[in-house]
Symmetry: C2
């Protein structure tokens, strides 16, 4: 461990940061250090401007004509291609729409249909839960299919992958610990067993370079409201490798996935390519905010993003361990850079109360039950000084014991 930097070293890091100009593109509240962009990304001026145009011109003035003139109908595939650059997918393999949960449902059905005779879905007990809930839903409609979980049925996911397995649904970065899986290695292991891989990119898309095509991934899903900054509940996306397109069937076969949606035919005929993952009419206003957010992403060098992300998390880990280690915080995220996403989690016996005290002081991270303090680092708008200042507040809260005040223990219905 090198010597801890001092404030002048921190300021030098910010001055030399090649991404620092991006911060001005975002609308950040005064007096807040926002370390929760891994849950809801910040608003950008571009997203707000697109939303205004969509609402005040296209909807209000142009009305129904905007489906053509403003390109509303093609937005899901056009935005999908732009996300593709960030996650290593060549054109025509990603479509934006619906929710991550709904897209997992489609991808699981599609994968099972591609592996007839195999009837096991493998997932992780430490997965973001909706992945498991949706897998249960898929199992409920396919008699004979079952779900096996890493951490329940076997200690490691590799131990579950055999000739009965049709598909492995795996999180690229764990939502709680921030641990990053090696996509290429695990995908190869899955393929060697004859199964297919679905990667959940919710905590890696926009957080680090993802290489879906290069890793040979079969399917992927992800959300756009975390690191991609698309806005609260912005539409999700789904990726399918081109080699599968002609054989994809999925049961959410709504009219937007039809080959000729406006011919109003009685029978379903799947669209060519990734469009067959579409189902119904998408929320255009939310999608237009996402378009604005992606305008910024078009300019981002993903390697520079990753370097800053690792530098920010290195710094945060080092500062917290040095200054706060004596107060009962312990690192949950791996120290190894190759296995780290863009978030850092520390355990504390009173994590809920400590996080509430941090939020009161303007340092916004989040709490994950039972004992995790989770902090997300978004290189486009987080500075090294933010990290420095956040740790100073955390140290003060822990040293003073202010978190023990009763008001910090009052839990809201939703956290």
């Amino acid at each position: 461990m090198p010597a801890l930097p001092d404030l002048s070293a921190i300021e030098a890091l910010d001055a030399a940061d090649p991404l620092r100009a991006f911060r001005e593109r975002f609308v950040l509240p005064e007096g807040v250090i926002y370390l929760d962009g891994n849950s809801l990304g910040a608003a950008s001026h571009a997203a707000l401007a697109e939303l205004d145009t969509a609402a005040r011109q296209e909807w209000s003035q142009d009305l129904i004509r905007s489906w053509n003139t403003a390109g509303w109908f093609d937005m899901p595939v056009k935005l999908g291609d732009r996300i593709g650059r960030l996650v290593g997918a060549a054109e025509g393999q990603i479509v934006v729409g619906d929710t991550t949960s709904v897209n997992i449902y489609k991808a699981l059905h599609a994968a099972l249909a591609l592996r007839p005779g195999r009837n096991v879905i493998v997932a992780e007990s430490g997965s973001f839960p909706t992945d498991l809930y949706v897998a249960e839903g898929v199992v409920s409609t396919r008699p004979g299919t079952s779900l096996k979980l890493e951490g329940v049925d076997a200690p490691a996911i590799e131990d579950l992958i055999d000739e009965t397995v049709a598909v492995v649904l795996v999180n690229h970065v764990n939502f709680k610990s921030g641990t990053l899986r090696d996509m290429a290695v695990l995908t190869k292991r899955i393929h060697d067993a004859g199964a297919l891989a679905i990667w959940d990119l919710c905590h890696s898309a926009g957080a680090l370079p993802v290489e879906l095509d290069a890793a040979g991934a079969d399917f992927a899903v992800g959300c756009t409201y975390k690191y991609l900054n698309g806005g609260p509940g912005a539409p999700a996306f789904v990726y399918a490798a081109r080699r599968h397109h002609d054989n994809i069937v999925q049961p959410l076969s709504g009219w937007w996935g039809h080959a000729r949606p406006f011919a109003m035919e009685t029978g379903f005929a799947a669209a060519e390519g990734i469009r067959r993952f579409q189902c119904g009419t998408q929320p255009i206003l939310s999608m237009r905010a996402l378009k604005g957010a992606l305008d910024i992403w078009d300019e981002v060098d993903m390697q520079a993003l990753r370097e800053k992300s690792l530098a920010l998390t290195d710094l945060f880990i080092a500062l917290v361990e040095a200054r706060c280690g004596q107060y009962g915080v312990s690192l949950e995220t791996t120290c190894a850079r190759a296995s780290r996403g863009s978030q850092v989690s520390f355990a504390h016996d009173h994590a809920y109360e400590v996080m509430q005290a941090l939020i009161e002081r303007g340092v916004i991270g989040d709490f994950r039950a039972p004992s995790t303090l989770r902090f997300g680092f978004t290189p486009l708008y987080t500075s090294y000084r933010d990290v420095w200042d956040a740790v100073a507040v955390l140290e003060d809260i822990l040293a003073s014991g202010v978190w023990k005040e009763p008001r910090f223990a009052v839990r809201a219905a939703v956290t």
Copy 2:
């Protein structure tokens, strides 16, 4: 047929219209007579204001805290209750979210699960197509289940309802002809055969009083971007009668439908009540525009709405038949008020070209293949004078033959 009104009679109708003040609540483009609110409803000042607050304050400034402080998480059920008043559903039976197509999928699965041993879904060949496409998708995941269509397997839907039928999926108002079904009568016929009824309200919610509870409907779905004016692609809704709630299972079992979504449990446990129809995180910006639209609906007397709707469509039919009948237009919508929604369709051999000529002149209706001119009448912002003026333009286009000019035959990719 009474004598046709003259312009002074039209002006008197507008002056006496109890709903006329609502028009000022909407943002309508200059020089346009908008008769396509049955496809995309107009923007309101309230919807735009809610959208601004959601984007510029809640997202931009309050960020992740808005899930609690701005009530984002509960919006789907709160907005559902407000739609409930418009469609005759007591509280706790409607939730807003996802798309109509996705909600049909959930409702069909739920209905089939409630009728074990029955394996036929009945629908209409003249249905809005996505209903049929989704029913095909459901059938594809449930071996032994089949789909039978009115207009293909039998001339009338009643002839298909027997003891093999689990569920009948039926459009309340036909998207093309505007024909309104008698919900109470058909639901009773369905129940007498031991089956369940799913009503698609896309073209009746906000167009006329709907009485889901009184009719004994089992499930219903609908969209919010047509008569409800929620914005392009605004989230859809799904209704389930309370008597079914405890026994509802549907396979899109994402985390928003979990009894304890933030406990992050590994196994799925369905939420109580209508929340179990939820799946994933919803598009908050789009949902907030809908909230603004519903603020207006809270003030609307649905009987007054229906009376004006029928008066507008009566007037339009009478004027078009009197002035344009000689030019090859023929009414497709029924004349009987009891069977009429809030739209009127006329057939014309060159409907596409005529509609393009109308749009060029600022009268916006829409075309439905192969030969339908479709006009929607939205009592909150359509005046009697609009009807008068629209017919004058139609008459002029038909009498002059201007629609024969080649430019009107050029078809856009999406209409």
